[in-house]
Symmetry: none
Subunit: 555 residues, 2 copies
């Protein structure tokens, strides 16, 4: 086969005819290609999928060789991928993974961007981000579901399982923050999103992620009050600066039910507009006197956080959404800045304690009907789960597929295996037209060590312990996942995380039944044991209820 | 079963009756216990096996629980060990490993001794070193073969193939360093080994690894000179501190032929005694002011390395023996610290390119006859290998077994699988009385990333790339090793290495045939592809000759 190692447009094959020797190999092939589909990838010609420089293969030569290897790979062989390059093929056995991947892993003392870039330049490395280098990215449906799930959990904890009749106040409707208005209305709530840049709001309205845009606080409050009292969902994009408007809201004695923030506070120079500055004036100052800009920006953030704290005292449920704004305010002298929690310890970790996380699946047929059938199956299997029903219904209405049709939802221990086996049954019976690929983000309950994000503030202080991510990769390999990956640096950059991924294919076979039931048990099971070991009651309870074996706890 | 979690004397059961549900589980049980046998372990009451603080289990509660779990473990279950603690049991399948281990792995930005010690104190971590936490340490013999080979290769390169009439100066006669005197005398040389703890020297004399112990430098030099001039092999354990005695040797203008060091410099707090401190005073300071201890310890290492550099300038052949002492000295301001090479690029890498490394096996019966039979088998299988014959002969004469009888020799790609299958055949036929455990050190051809040791000065500059170690752990898991381990920091300390281990049991079954042939192929195969990828001709040749598949090289 001639190798044609030039950038070109990649799109995964569809349908029921495969060019590889088995469906697992074919699945890896299509998912690699799907990651590079122009509908999915941010910069496909550079093999960049998402996350700045997160790639699916090291270079086009490697891409072509991986494709060639996958087509040729037997059902008892395993292909080894080292930072996006195929480096070996070994005989293993049918119940072993067909692909084993390690991306961007550096000896810790050298685990920094400088060393990485140097090795990258030499052609020896690639940044795998999380689902880019492990061939299971599915486009922007992911951030929407994650945000939806965060608000759903907030609702479960504080307002009876729904945001109906509640007001959420936030700021920042940018790349990721723009998912907030839709995530809130999907949970039946009302929200005001303060955004200094009207173009950003317009864009959210265009994509139907946000309902209305207003220029005045009074009007926003009036609309919000009206919707709230009628129990109607509504998202309002309010043009303005959070550092000005939040203190004003405090002054008026208004107490939203939930308060958070997704301005890009992690970057005071480029991600946050100081109070009193128009976009133009801000751009000018940023250029002319960046130091002064940062000083003003940080001072505004301190006010912003102070107002969040004031609202918390008045009774609002307040949380940080992973933009580091508490740290900035704290450094500016707001001593109580960390009085409100980060979103992971507050809302995501309880889910992790039940083995829940960003579970997803993809139809290899390319046929949207296959996904709609799995949607139905899901609702049939978990009829009691109202949040799930809402999500699926709304996703069907609101989410456009990118590349191969896919769905994401957060399922926990027990549910994943049950669902996976039921999908396999449908594939077997021909009710779904081709095999389904089942995977997840690396940001999952038992697969990641990342002290500034997923493992921030662990109860026992084990934030930096990464044995768990390694064990996750090993046990998924031992359980027969279709491919397994281990990465360094995803999400928070070089040095700050280690994490593992897995994908398992439902091809309708009996062998797949065995693999699915094992992998979809051990994988979320890692989340249970990791959090049980750290002393979280919910994880310990889940382990006891579900029979997850944790020897030192006598379970 | 009542848990009796107190320090006590551990010795592995012998014989053909097992208490676990299968031989693989029984093997893990006996090997864990054997690691803590007082004949094997350096400080068994603290669960310390070797390497300063390299432990087999996190604490006695964990040890007891691991034993309980292994006895109870089914042949299709896997036990997960996180830094020496049993944290979960999952259903996998018969061809999966029975135990999966991750020790001391930290998120890279936190991968330092301070964080480790803090977590260790909180009971959340353990240092696994290499074969300590992965239950395949076999006492000094384990390192004897490697040390013997290293000095033999040094002799080939610098003194006509023998150490006869030469003086080797080293320090540290601990768990691994204690092999040096015998390795040198086996090569017909004379050596002085400086060791601050007389008990360590006594122990080496007791096991016949060292010939004499002296208290004074003058006497050591006199004895050495006498033996050298008569061409007689002699090993001298000299009580003293290397940081004091090496500069003294420089001052006296004495130039040994070879100079190296095996103090536990990789662990400045626990592994090195600062100059001027007695063992007792050191222990007191370590307890009272660990920071100050580390400061003094590092300062002494700088002096120690400076003296090694001075000897190199005078004409000694100087090499680092993998304890990271150059890095410490460099950080302390000794700018030339890396002027002498590590032993791997100097003497070991050519062997790695053929998949050779510290292969070893242990008789679970406890019967030395079983090992002698494998010795015979080995010589029968590889009659053309003269070095092997010499080693086996000397080992039979000079090596006293510690704990369960064991043998080590360096076998390469192809040889390992052939030998493993032949052993399994003998077990099957009852020619060997009980199953044999087959494993290796983590320091092997394709299993370690350690830029100051095993991967120092790689041809393509990929020293810091650790994907290979991850892939090694994954592929051995996929191939059905009996247990697989992944560690951080072994040999060179926190931050400086990532490495993987494996053990596979020859219990005479057909299933074991399959596992042995896969694991003993993929495992050294990793060494071939890692070095082929880095551009070493010998590895590329070996891949071609032996049919190891390296896709990007078209092999
Ligand atoms: N940890 C997580 O999982 C997670 C998830 C989502 C977002 N985040 C964090 O949230 C932040 C936002 O991410 P993004 O991708 O949406 O960034 P972005 O830069 O695309 O959007 C930030 C938005 O904030 C607006 N803004 C800036 N200053 C403002 C002010 N003073 N008042 C009102 N609006 C202001 C900007 O105009 C912009 O639209 C980042 O810090 C990101 O790291 C974290
Ligand atoms: N790369 C390899 O293959 C390889 C092989 C063997 C050892 N090593 C390295 O060598 C080191 C030693 O290993 P070990 O298992 O023998 O460790 P160990 O802790 O059992 O022994 C170290 C010995 O050094 C002695 N010592 C400490 N400070 C001293 C000083 N200032 N002067 C004289 N003696 C001193 C101690 O008393 C102890 O006996 C480790 O760092 C290990 O990683 C590497």
């Amino acid at each position: 086969m001639a190798i044609q190692s030039e950038p070109r447009t990649i799109r995964a094959p569809r349908g029921t005819t495969r060019s590889a020797k088995g469906w697992v190999q074919e699945a890896a092939l299509r998912m690699l290609m799907n990651n590079l589909d122009p509908e999915v990838a941010e910069r496909p010609s550079d093999l960049v999928v998402y996350g700045g420089i997160g790639k699916a293969a090291r270079n086009w030569e490697s891409f072509d060789k991986i494709v060639e290897c996958l087509k040729d790979l037997e059902g008892d062989e395993s292909l080894l991928i080292q930072s996006g390059k195929p480096v070996g093929i070994f005989k293993t056995h049918p119940h072993a993974p067909r692909v084993l991947i390690s991306n961007s892993v550096l000896v810790p003392a050298f685990a920094n961007w400088d060393t990485f870039h140097e090795l990258d330049k030499k052609g020896l490395m690639m940044f795998g981000q999380m689902t880019a280098g492990s061939w299971i990215y599915i486009g922007s449906q992911g951030i929407l579901q994650g945000t939806y799930e965060t608000f759903a959990e907030a609702a479960r904890q504080h307002s009876g399982g729904s945001l109906k009749g509640t007001l959420t106040l936030t700021a920042g409707l940018g790349g990721m923050g723009g998912a907030q208005p839709l995530a809130v209305t999907m949970n039946d709530g009302v929200m005001i999103g303060i955004e200094v840049d009207p173009k950003r709001i317009e864009r959210r309205i265009h994509t139907r992620y946000c309902d209305v845009m207003v220029e005045k606080l009074d009007e926003a409050l009036r609309l919000a009050e009206e919707a709230k009292s009628k129990g109607r969902p509504l998202s309002i994009g309010l043009v303005g600066n959070a550092a000005e408007l939040l203190p004003e809201i405090v002054k008026r004695g208004i107490v939203p039910d939930f308060v958070t923030d997704q301005t890009s506070a992690h970057d005071p120079l480029n991600g946050y507009i100081p109070e009193g500055y128009s976009l133009e004036a801000a751009a000018e100052l940023r250029q002319r006197d960046p130091k002064e800009y940062v000083r003003l920006s940080k001072r505004s953030m301190a006010k912003h956080v102070q107002a969040m704290l004031d609202l918390q005292k008045q009774g609002s449920v307040v949380f940080d959404y992973g933009n580091n704004i508490r740290q900035v305010a704290f450094d500016e002298g707001v001593k109580d800045a960390f009085n409100f929690p980060g979103f992971v310890p507050a809302y995501i970790r309880p889910l992790f304690c039940e083995g829940k996380g960003p579970f997803r699946w993809v139809a290899l047929s390319g046929d949207s009907q296959d996904i709609y059938k799995t949607d139905e199956l899901l609702l049939k299997l978990f009829p009691e789960n109202q949040a799930l029903r809402r999500w699926i219904t709304l996703a069907q209405e609101r989410v456009a597929f990118q590349g191969l049709p896919a769905r994401i939802c957060w399922l926990g221990y027990g549910e994943r295996a049950k669902f996976g086996l039921a999908i396999n049954e449908m594939v077997r019976k021909g009710e779904i037209s081709a095999p389904i690929v089942i995977g997840r983000d690396h940001l999952d309950s038992g697969s990641v060590a990342s002290p500034n994000r997923e493992t921030e503030g662990m109860k026992d202080g084990s934030d930096a312990v990464a044995d768990w991510a390694v064990l996750n990769a090993l046990v998924n390999t031992a359980s027969g996942a279709s491919w397994v990956s281990f990465h360094h640096g995803g999400g928070v950059g070089m040095g700050y995380s280690l994490h593992a991924g897995m994908v398992v294919v439902a091809d309708g076979s009996e062998e797949a039944d065995e693999k699915l039931s094992r992998v979809l048990t051990t994988d979320p099971g890692m989340g249970i044991i990791r959090h049980a070991d750290a002393g979280y009651d919910k994880a310990i309870e889940t382990a006891k209820e579900r029979g997850v074996r944790v020897p030192m706890l006598g379970i």
